[in-house]
Symmetry: C2
Subunit: 343 residues, 2 copies
Amino acid sequence: MSKATINDVAKYAKVSRATVSRVLNQNSKVDAKLRARVLDAITALGYQPNRAARRLRAQSSNVIGLVISDIQNPYFLSVTRGVEDAASAQQMSLILCNSDENPDKERMYLQVMEAERVAGLIIVPAHSDNSQDLNHLKKAGIPIILLDRAVKDVQVDTIRVDNERGSYEAVNHLIGLGYRRIATITGSLQLTTGQERYQGYRTALQAAGMPLNEALVKFGDFKTESGYQLAQELMNATEPPDAIFVANNLMSLGALRALLEQNIRVPENVALVGFDDLPWSGELYSPLTAVSQPTYELGQEAVNLLLRRLANPKAPYLTVVLQPHLIVRASCGVKLRRPANGS
Amino acid sequence: MSKATINDVAKYAKVSRATVSRVLNQNSKVDAKLRARVLDAITALGYQPNRAARRLRAQSSNVIGLVISDIQNPYFLSVTRGVEDAASAQQMSLILCNSDENPDKERMYLQVMEAERVAGLIIVPAHSDNSQDLNHLKKAGIPIILLDRAVKDVQVDTIRVDNERGSYEAVNHLIGLGYRRIATITGSLQLTTGQERYQGYRTALQAAGMPLNEALVKFGDFKTESGYQLAQELMNATEPPDAIFVANNLMSLGALRALLEQNIRVPENVALVGFDDLPWSGELYSPLTAVSQPTYELGQEAVNLLLRRLANPKAPYLTVVLQPHLIVRASCGVKLRRPANGS
DNA sequence: CTGAAAGCGCTTACAG
DNA sequence: CTGAAAGCGCTTACAG
């Protein structure tokens, strides 16, 4: 069965195609009788307007592009959910791509987004230097929202959390509990999240008058395996840390695995605090104290920023910063070090 | 800056639009000199073909629709990754929707898919009775691949795991360890996965000559909260079970949370085996013994089925069944009940 | 191998 | 309020 087109509907309803189009788009007045005939015809023929044709003609799209840097990361479950909900509330669809932290894949997908003439792009950039590609898209008239990470030399709307403050709080919490050899497993300094979370660690130490010990700083890549490796390195050193702040969720899981394998108890032998909460953080071997990001809201706000930009392309660029908050569970050793009712 | 079109490229390269199109689509011979001029023009103008126009004219699309039933479920991290990888290897993009287990949302999204004229649809159906919508799409010429769950009265390609065998193995493993009051928290019988996993439980009991005790059977909805609730119900009964088989990942996490809150030790007080493995199952409070599905392969195979169907629309419909396997960790109590080197 | 022309299914000034 | 007509940016027989 071939698909019904607007012509079929027009014939069936004995009106012009223009009238069918007007009924469909609801923005101009159509006589009630004609409208009824058109609606009948649509149901009778099972008509679905061809969006490719509409997009071509109207030069506007109801598709949002979403480029994620690592679709395996649970962080994006909730972010994507937020984007999807907000988009579908506006009758917009989502094209989803996974750059896999790979600049080449990212470039390819940006070309796809351009070719699709998406209404706008929400992207978690894979690196902080792709200003060229992004600016190209911007010039092509596609609004861009940067999510989670910033990019040098590109002026666009941005939504992210206050990473520095989040890790400051996490590390400060450990300091308050009396830990003195606090290590960090942090992310790549190529990413703004990596920079900012590392900075929060340093600021907290500094504010407490504690020296920065380079032997206690390990740089990972935000993936599970590096958390696993680096936790081993830290614990196998001659002077291991008494606490570790891990800069994202996957590395925290990797670190936890390494500690378990070596029978190092958390928090008795070493305390652990992570960045990014997980829905199952409370059910982990050592329930994880973590900096929780409002991930769902991050996704929603990204769409809001996009809608705002679409409504007013010349509006000044906005950076929206959401606040993370520390969720205290057992892995930081709060029960060992303080009374349970401690503030 | 307005976008370059094929006309601009043609003028710049001093050839016809047809020639530009031929260079772009690589399927017919173009003189090397002309080709070079066209390629130069494309780079010079930063030209990206408009996919909406191509789709309209060529009546073919390089977009795959993916409708997921619950995007919050970690199960789909890996499935989506598999689909994405396989699709991008074929230069195809993904439109992602989340039906949220809601038949109305699902229907709406199926309409979107039809309107987008996607090349094909991969769907995890939200209920087993939407044959009407799916058959409509099928008639409209859009190939459908059912993932994970079957639907009544609709003949299409299907990819799923052997759910009955998976839960049979899980329950049989518990029986082999000597448990005698084995409860199950299973999913809705509206879903084939719910039916099949429940059936596997019953078959295993039956094969062992054990009676089915209805007090030990609880029906959830595959979401965390129901696992939490039903585990409480089971453990608060006058005769609680000595083991629980939970029919999916989220309910397993919920059950684990309930047990932790009540200080019920796993597996010492009650053993736990789940369906669906999680990347962090080994780092859970009680490392979870679980039936692991080949989720990534499920996603990839779904795309393969789709490509096969696209290549040969009249081919007989296929159901591909992948085998799950049991991963034994601590939560089933294997160490309590058997020597560590037991087979 | 190449170009002129038709047409995919819509939307939108334009005229009435 | 309604219809005839033009045109969005492509691809693809068709002719040469």
